[in-house]
Point group: C2
Chain length 352, copies 2
DNA sequence: CCACCACATGTTTGCGCGAACAAGCACCCA
DNA sequence: TGGGTGCTTGTTCGCGCAAACATGTGGTGG
């Protein structure tokens, strides 16, 4: 995502045109022949307005096309009923699915979502987003991070507003909601080992992704715990194409009978590479992915993968951040959303 | 993550209460020993504040953690610098990519994006969204529709705010930005015919999608214009799985040598079905998709498909809606974003 | 019959901000 | 020396709304 200058310098005076005079309560009041306060009462469904008056007001509202000004309302109440979501990109499946769940659940709670893109996943970028957020009309923030920027101390609640972080560490200082990366990875690797594979290769996601690092770490640990050798690790960028490139090399790797890809898209690339190299999945090589994107049932062959419950992640984010909003208290801690392995047709025992 | 945690920055307390009442300009002014107006000037980078005063004010701002109240600012200016986006789902690639482009471009123009989900794609659902939008803090609306609800007259500018519709008809009454569905489809079908296929089968998207209908229509028209028979049409729901089910049947269809799927995911399902049925793509059957999602390069085989420029669609939406905001005038009309056929390995001349 | 109550409606006020205007001041030139 | 001139800073006011309080009105019971 592109960001303009995200530095904290004072805003330059923007060119503002005369505000479009919208219909206000006073206009409605005048037409209905009542006071503005009565219009307010009707607008908010206050009971002590007699039927005939109410009708007059409603009629005037309709005729003038009145709609309440939420800025004034927010000013009065001191809250916007809006949650800001900071993210780097929507192009990964996980992010967009999580966002969708956040939006739905927030709507259910009567909150709107405002999106704040951060172009450059650097510390400045994050700061910039927070700075702009400060000026945006939000009561709380959910950060969908894919990079290790949380520990930048400058990011510590620079606004003093409730925040929840997705997909990162920092559970001791922030409220974190995340998929249980370690457990999912462990299930995937164990599944392959249980099938009889001697070890498991890994195509990791980009280094700057916490999720990718966590999966790689756990892959390594699981092998080590089982007393097995840890083969060389390939590095992708989440894209199917990067998985394909890794696959072309892995196909020539002697003894490679099982590969764990850090996401389904890279697994797709692996499948293609193995296919082109004449290796049959799962007869010659087994492949496991991570995410369980809907398409993975239609890969050739249908993919064994770790199911992530993005909906649940989004739901809990909203739940936890709203709890902070209402209780005015920040509680650090991590909520882990469980995963489960979905076994399809891309895994089998190793060739004899 | 461990690397950052060793950075020399001081750790912040884990729990910090949000101040009961937020810091206002008056508080800053008091601490800095100036008037509130001077604080306002500093906040907005007004030039006529002398250096020493500015420093005092900035210092007070920092110490109190001041951030401007956007509700008050919006109330004053009569605008929110926010665009609302109404959508039904983020789970289709097109929607999330379009949204991402909208967010980016809006940010570039200094506008934030507020998301308004519509749960049920019925007329009531749309109305509900618009009603709530009326109370939301937005200056304009972009509607990402996938269903034919525009013609519901009740939606006619219920708020009188600028609106742009993506992906629909109604160009005579609304401002519409859309991918050139017809041209893309024509290119896909012509490509298959030019390769020598006698006709082209079609797996359409759901009936309630305008894009799906438009593609189906154009497919039919292109065949008819060429004097060719129009085979039975299969109906999917955009999912790979629905493409797979259609593919299982199409594989048994005599004389079916070319299939145009209304999106890439259904094409993926087709590829799997043909594979399972022992039909080799493209030797026995050619397949063309629509969208050009990044994964389509890694299908087996890499998919020939119609490239949609979602980024451009999003960009133009923002551009057109902001033009309305600034010129205070609604201009109906349709902007079509061109498509182009990307030929990969899933198409070939029909078997002899 | 009047004091009082319940309820509908009106008036005042201030949320935080910034435009418009006013005030204070230093400096300049006739 | 006196009246600009230009610059910084302060004061007033109202954006639209709704809480709090004030007022008005009709009805009821002692």
């Amino acid at each position: 995502m592109t960001a303009e200058s995200t530095s904290g310098t004072p805003r330059q005076p923007a060119v503002r045109r005369a505000p479009a005079r919208r219909v206000s309560m006073a206009d409605v009041a005048r037409l209905a022949g009542v006071s503005a306060q009565t219009v307010s009462r009707v607008s908010n469904g206050h009971p002590s307005v007699v039927g005939s008056t109410r009708e007059q007001v409603l009629d005037a509202m309709r005729r003038l096309g009145y709609r309440p000004n939420s800025a004034a309302r927010a000013l009065k109440y001191g809250e916007f009923r809006t949650i800001g979501v900071i993210l780097f990109t929507l192009s990964t499946v996980g992010n967009s699915r999580t966002l969708e769940a956040i939006v739905d659940h927030a709507a259910h709670e009567g909150y709107a979502i405002t999106l704040i893109p951060v172009a450059v996943p650097t510390q400045d970028g994050v700061l910039g987003a927070f700075t702009r957020l400060g000026e945006l009309a939000v009561d709380a923030v959910i950060v969908i991070m894919e990079v290790h920027l949380l520990d930048a101390a400058t990011m510590t609640l620079p606004l003093g507003i409730p925040a929840v972080i997705v997909d990162s560490t920092g559970g001791d200082r922030y409220t974190v909601v995340d998929t249980d990366q370690a457990d999912g990875t462990r299930q995937a690797v164990r599944h392959l080992l249980d099938l009889g594979h001697r070890t498991v290769w890994h195509v990791a996601g980009p280094e700057d992704s916490y999720a990718a690092e966590r999966r790689a770490e756990t892959w390594r640990a699981t092998l080590t715990e089982a007393g097995l050798p840890v083969p060389r690790m390939w590095r992708g960028d989440w894209s199917a194409d990067s998985g394909y490139r890794a696959g072309l090399e892995l196909a020539d790797e002697p003894g490679c009978t099982a590969v764990f890809a850090a996401n389904d898209q890279m697994a797709l690339g692996l499948l293609r590479a193995f296919h082109e190299k004449g290796k049959v999945v799962p007869r010659d090589v087994s492949v496991v992915g991570f995410d369980d994107i809907p398409d993975s049932t239609s890969f050739i062959p249908p993919l064994t993968t770790v199911h992530q419950d993005f909906t649940e992640v989004g739901r809990r984010c909203v739940e936890r951040v709203l709890r902070q909003v209402h209780h005015r208290r920040t509680k650090a801690g991590t909520t882990l959303v469980p995963t489960r392995l979905v076994v399809r047709d891309s895994t089998a025992p190793p060739p004899a």
